[in-house]
Amino acid sequence: MQTTEVSSLTTSPPPTLAGQEILSVDGLSLSFGGVKALQHVSFSVEEGSVTSVIGPNGAGKTSLFNSISGFYTPSEGNVNFLGKNVNKIAPPDRAAMGMARTFQNIALFKGMTVLDNIKLGRHAHLKTNILEALFYFGPAQRTEAALRREIEEKIIDFLEIDHIRNSSVGALSYGLQKRVELARALAMQPKILLLDEPVAGMNREETEDMARFILDVKEEWGVTVLMVEHDMGLVMDISDHVVCLNFGQVITQGLPDEVQGHPDVISAYLGSGDVTALRKKFKEGR
């Protein structure tokens, strides 16, 4: 297999666009029957940053993600992506605009190989029509070959999953599956990557690998990251901006250190009580 030196990743480092927001959530409310999952949530994600959403279980993090990717229709408020209100845009079209996401409980296609799963990521950007597909001539063949080359040289190589490219996804370990899911999201040529608990259930080593990948995605690929994560160590280490949710409301947001020390955050996580002790516990998490 030819996977010769891909010394420089073809993506150029991102032009510094700090300060420009790529995604913003504006007064978002969502309710299921009488349950208010989200109430007037507002925050924005700057282009080229890693933004994390934290909060205890049931705080509404996943509901927030599902609203952003278009599965839930908010009862109030707006989601803006690339300066455009996307409230009325269906999930597949948001994906085509450059919004990629992974799922908390891995949503890979078990019956397919790793390679096919990653290729699926490019779906929205491919144009092969049915006749080209049936006869597999010219354009279809070229498209597939180019896609394969790009996936091999950029994504598989980058995420160090070349040894499993032809394995069936179902047979892989949890950590590897998470990595394949990230690979698939990257194949979508995203402008923003929504990661739902990227390191949940991973051991120390796998978590560190993932942290490295996320930072590389941000720095080398120039992709903005928005993630939901419980691992405080990871969040504090790699985030540029942290949003803390509780009971469907933003209780505070800001730089990691500010959020980490905020008394409301600590009491949200651990109930009210001895703040000093809890703060110490947080620090140990790092």
Binding site: M1, Q2, S69, F71, A90, P91, P92, D93, A95, A96, A100, R101, F103, A107, F109, K110, G111, M112, D116, K119, L120, G121, R122, H123, A124, H125, L126, T128, I130, E132, A133, L134, F135, Y136, A140, Q141, T143, E144, A145, R148, R149, E152, R184, M188
Partner: protein
């Protein structure tokens, strides 16, 4: 032991048959298909034609049910649409058979799209039942639109002609059926090397996350219905050229169950599975006939129970494979291949 499969570029790795041995087998198979009519009798060719027609239709159903995960019990009715289209065009217009088959496929595809329309709102069982409803309604149209379909007595049509030669006997019609079957099988295999086939599988496995990847569910579900019914329509057209008498009873619900059984026995979501399943299921009655031949001296009633036994065997095969080998004959075949690839080492 299989060795030396190193490749020089990605295109080679993406090829349908990626080793020389595989390509060699393919060429041998093609030669065999071309030599067949000169080597066997009319009855064997008759069976081969029947198998091939069933392979086309089964492959179509496999695209819809095996690969996209949408159960359909309308495949026989879609075949009927194709068969009637061919017969009507051949009788009234006398257009060339290739055009007729193409229009038969397209007509069936259109009907398929209409039947698939509920697929965004309803899933699974409800959709399967919508396809049963479609079969019933189509059957009604076949039986009652007398001016077009000849009503209950059906239609008899002239044979296809190729360069002025009338194709009457099985070994003549074979030259239409065989190339089209081969072409359509390659088409199906190619489909799953591209974004369209991958989208189908994604819809089957988890349709919510398919949406996140930018796959428009309704469009691709309808596309799957269209392709599947196109295959059924062409198969029905071939069927019409083969038997040349079409009645509303030619395409009963039982036939749809036959195709469903074929993909289950052969292997859902595998092109090879469709081929194996259709072949196997078409040959079951033949095998039973042979057994009857052996048994009849001892048990004179054997001939009488032949047809019900066939029905029992169909059902029993469906149940057996679903319980014991859900991946079907294709999986058994893969295991055999794996064994030889690794031989003399044990897996």
């Amino acid at each position: 032991m299989r060795i030396g499969t190193a490749k020089e570029n990605y295109t080679a790795d993406e090829a349908l048959f990626d080793t020389n041995i595989q390509r060699g087998w393919m060429i041998a198979l093609m030669i065999a298909l071309f030599a067949l009519p000169f080597m066997t009798g009319q009855y064997a060719i008759y069976l081969v034609c029947l198998v091939m027609i069933n392979i086309v239709s089964t492959t179509g159903l496999n695209i819809l049910t095996g690969f996209t995960g949408l159960v359909s019990l309308g495949q026989a009715a879609f075949m009927g649409v194709g068969a009637y289209t061919v017969a009507i065009m051949e009788i009234n217009l006398g257009t060339p058979f290739l055009l007729n088959l193409l229009i038969a496929g397209s007509g069936a595809a259109l009907v398929g799209i209409v039947v698939g329309l509920p697929s965004l709102r309803v899933k699974g069982l409800y959709l399967a039942i919508a396809t049963i409803a479609a079969s019933v309604i189509l059957h009604f149209i076949f039986a009652n639109w007398t001016s077009m379909t000849g009503g209950v007595s059906g239609l008899s049509m002239p044979p296809a002609s190729l360069f002025g030669l009338e194709l009457v006997q099985p070994d003549q019609v074979y030259w239409i059926i065989m190339p089209i079957t081969v072409l359509m099988l390659f088409g199906a295999a190619n489909l799953f090397r591209t974004r369209i086939g991958r989208a189908f599988i994604a819809i089957r496995d988890r349709d919510i996350s398919a949406e996140v990847l930018g796959i428009r569910l309704l469009r691709f579900k309808l596309l799957s219905f269209a392709i599947s019914s196109f295959y059924a329509g062409v198969a029905g057209g071939l069927w019409a050229y083969f038997f040349r008498v079409i009645t509303p009873e030619s395409f009963p619900l039982l036939m749809s169950i036959f195709f469903l059984a074929a993909i289950i026995v052969g292997g859902m979501g595998s092109i090879l599975g469709g081929i194996l399943g259709a072949t196997f299921m078409t040959m079951v009655p033949e095998i039973l006939k042979m057994m009857v031949g052996v048994l009849s001296p001892i048990w004179p009633d054997a001939v009488a129970v032949m047809s019900p036994v066939r029905v029992v065997v169909f059902g029993a095969l469906i149940i057996f494979f679903l319980i014991f080998e859900p991946d079907g004959l294709a999986e058994i075949w893969r295991n055999i291949r794996r064994f030889f690839h690794l031989w003399p080492f044990k897996t």
